[in-house]
Amino acid sequence: MIENERVITTTCAPHCGGGCLLKAHVKDGVITRIETDDDQDDVQLRACMRGRSWRQRIYHPDRLKHPMKRVGPRGSGRFERITWDKALDTIAAELKRTVDTYGPASIVHWVSGGDQAALHDGWRRMSRIFCMMGGYTRPWGLHSYEGGIFAELTCFGMGFTAHTRDDLLNSKLIIMWGWNPAVTIQDTNTAWYLAQAKEHGTKIISIDPRFTASASAFAHHWIPIRPGTDAAALIAMANVMVTENLQEQAFLDKFTIGFDAFKDYILGDEDGVAKTPEWAEAITGIPTDTIRKLAREYATTKPAALITGIGPGRTAYGEQYHRAAIVLAAMTGNIGKSGGSCGGKSWGPHALGRMGSGPKIPPNKVDDTVPNPEGKLPNRRYYIWGHGIINVFRLTDAFIKGKSGGYPADYRFLWVTNANPLNQWPNTNKTVEAFNKLDFIVTEEHFMTPTARYADIVLPTTTFFERTDVTMSASCPVSYAYRREIIEPVGESRAPMDFATDLANRLGFTDYNDKTDEEWVDVILQKSPLPDVEGFKERGFQKIDLPEPSVPFRAQIADPENNPFYTPSGKIEVHSQMIADMNLPHCPPIPKYIEPWESPSDPLAERYPLQLITTHTGRRAHTQFDNVPWLRELDPHAIRINRIDAEARGIKDSDAVKVFNDRGTMIIPAKIVETIMPGVVDLPQGAWYYPDDNGVDRGGCANVLTIDRPSPGGALPSNTALVQVERA
């Protein structure tokens, strides 16, 4: 250790579902190195390359150091430095003007998970200000896994259904369905537990259009599947089980309702089409024998964990995939059992820590103006991002059309927190049009991101190294982190609660915040189960080991009389009356395969014959870290295309290619691989949008090509898009 150097523990604030421990070496007020967990007594929470790269993000030459005001057209990138006083005065005046002129519903707050913590996290602190002003428009829904939420809320009535990952060691069979945790993390150590499961002899099968890093490292078999057809494969597996009488009928009788209706559908009694493996082969590209074998193996290996990644749910009718998987988990009796899985979405840990929260939020009166938003489940508000009156994927359309399009208001003012919506909302070119409709946009940022380039005022915020906060971290073991201020804020960047308080004062809310950050941390921790708060703060971290793996629905299965499921019937709802009552088009009360729009048999496929999927790369967390040099050099951005498709187009490796459809065009390098299905191309999402003078994106932002049309159950179809690829 270097002289005068201190080592301070904190945790990464990523957007990956992990919660990894970082140890910052600090000398003369500067972070010089970062190590990770070296705990010798408990499971280590080791950070990935992103966590290890924070120094290049904190001290990046492009880090925003002053408030900036736009002086050129939106997107031009022309800004001038202003003072905090000028920035907050301008914002306060604009907020007042907007509310006075157009009403509170014209204010929209968009917040995502870019910087999660209990106090400085964006939603609560800004919500409090907007609600003090009379309310604001907030969207409901999650880009990541709304289809999975829909399935869990209708089948189970709750949405935190992932076992702690140590329970993978109790499985005899693990089916990674569209699940690639070696890259997507979904809790620290998930991949490490998969490796150990394989070493213990657990059979692992990957179903995925790509031969992923997880498939390569852990799987015994890879079954390629056409994007958007996952529900068909699962339903055909159900057909095999019923035809061969492999289902656990006693489990179905005891714990579910509506299975007979599903059975009628899969056997063809309902519509004359038996959902056989032959039926599914034509749709999915999976050979019939493979579907049969997989169905038999899943039905007869106990316990088995069918882990359904959330990528396949980000498709047109993606909610059907998630609902079908839950029904299969019920048919095999794997729900509520150690080593099993309820078939719910792969992310949403059942084991969670507990702590209080920051400042209270007054009721949002704008929420009351639309009591039953279209397409929103009645119990949706009980799950995260469940309040609000517009589906997130309708926001661009709502900004453009407002009341004339049937939306509840005309939208004028957008505040963006911990998010990069211009880049990450579907259909980027339409989002640009939508942003240009707005009077005023504010974003809080570390960098001049694509969203920031369209903002009127950009506020420079601190990273979590530069302020004090507390957070719940990983879930296996359940962890808590005290994130103390390790270094002074970079430049004039300010902690979010700090400038929010200043803004509230300008709006006349002098009672907005009566505590220091340290006092807030103590208030928040009062509601935690931590036995020794002072010791915790001294150490900076606390792991709580559970006596056994956390398994959702254990109690419901062990003692159903006293522990009904959280559904209206108290059972697992294969048939959901809640869905039937909503009467949504293409959203049946039992899970069905519905052919997606922009499938290979769509007439559009003549012009755009390739199916685009927009996956994750380990060197970004969505758009975060995209500008970090240590990471950029490791996985250069490119569209992945199978050799067969590349040869048919005369494309060589690293060639610049034009990728396009009716929604947009980009030019980026091609990477020719054997690890993706022919007919499918993969563009990792999160690269920053950089249009040239002709509107052609040179950054390779995947959403230039995606559609802003929500699935009936609310899923974002970012993996449902037809494109063409040509040599540029």
Binding site: I34, E35, D38, W192, A213
Partner: protein
């Protein structure tokens, strides 16, 4: 005594954490110099691809080819732990020499992007050992696929396999590395 690396190739997911942790710890900027590298080995054709990863530091060979290759004796092998170290001040620089790189079959000698960059490379985090710590890549690997220690201890713990997918053991140099190699089989159709 000779320190050696162990690498479990069956566990590696190609996540590059070792690469970034190393660059952070040793303050190596983005660019051509990387003391730890991860190679991707791809074989086979769709639908039977084979992918393996190989973490590639310096193997601190028993008979390092770089040491005699250096015309100014800038590279030496430490007696106490077998770590091969370079004295950058003495190095002639990449524009003049690069004989060490020519000699090494594993491309362990690294050069930055700057003019006449001096050779730099993995030093097995030699200053960490004195604090009872293993190399930063070893302690950082999320898959616990890396280890390092005296070669006899490593062999006793992990066996004596010295080759892996993507690495051929050089019988002249005796690289100080032990592997759990990934079997070269494409996944069978299900």
């Amino acid at each position: 005594m000779q320190l050696a690396f162990f690498f479990d190739q069956t566990r590696c997911t190609g996540c590059y954490t070792c690469v970034v942790a190393c660059k952070d710890w040793h303050d190596v900027p983005a660019g051509p110099a990387s003391w730890m590298r991860v190679a991707t080995i791809e074989r086979g054709k769709y639908p039977h691809p084979f992918v393996a990863f190989l973490s590639t530091p310096c193997y601190h060979c028993d008979e390092p080819a770089c040491v005699p290759a250096c015309p100014v004796d800038a590279i030496s092998k430490r007696h106490q732990d077998g770590i091969v170290v370079v004295n950058g001040d003495a190095c002639l620089g990449k524009d003049t020499c690069q004989l060490c790189l020519d000699a090494c079959p594993y491309q362990a000698p690294q050069f930055g992007a700057e003019d006449n960059a001096k050779m730099q490379k993995c030093d097995l985090c030699l200053e960490r050992w004195s604090e009872g710590k293993k190399p930063v890549c070893v302690e950082g690997c999320p898959m616990r696929a890396l280890d390092a220690g005296p070669i006899d201890e490593m062999e006793a713990k992990y066996g004596k396999i010295h080759e892996a997918e993507g690495l051929k053991y050089d019988e002249r140099l005796h690289p100080s590395v032990i592997y759990k190699p990934k079997p070269r089989v494409s996944l069978a159709s299900y």
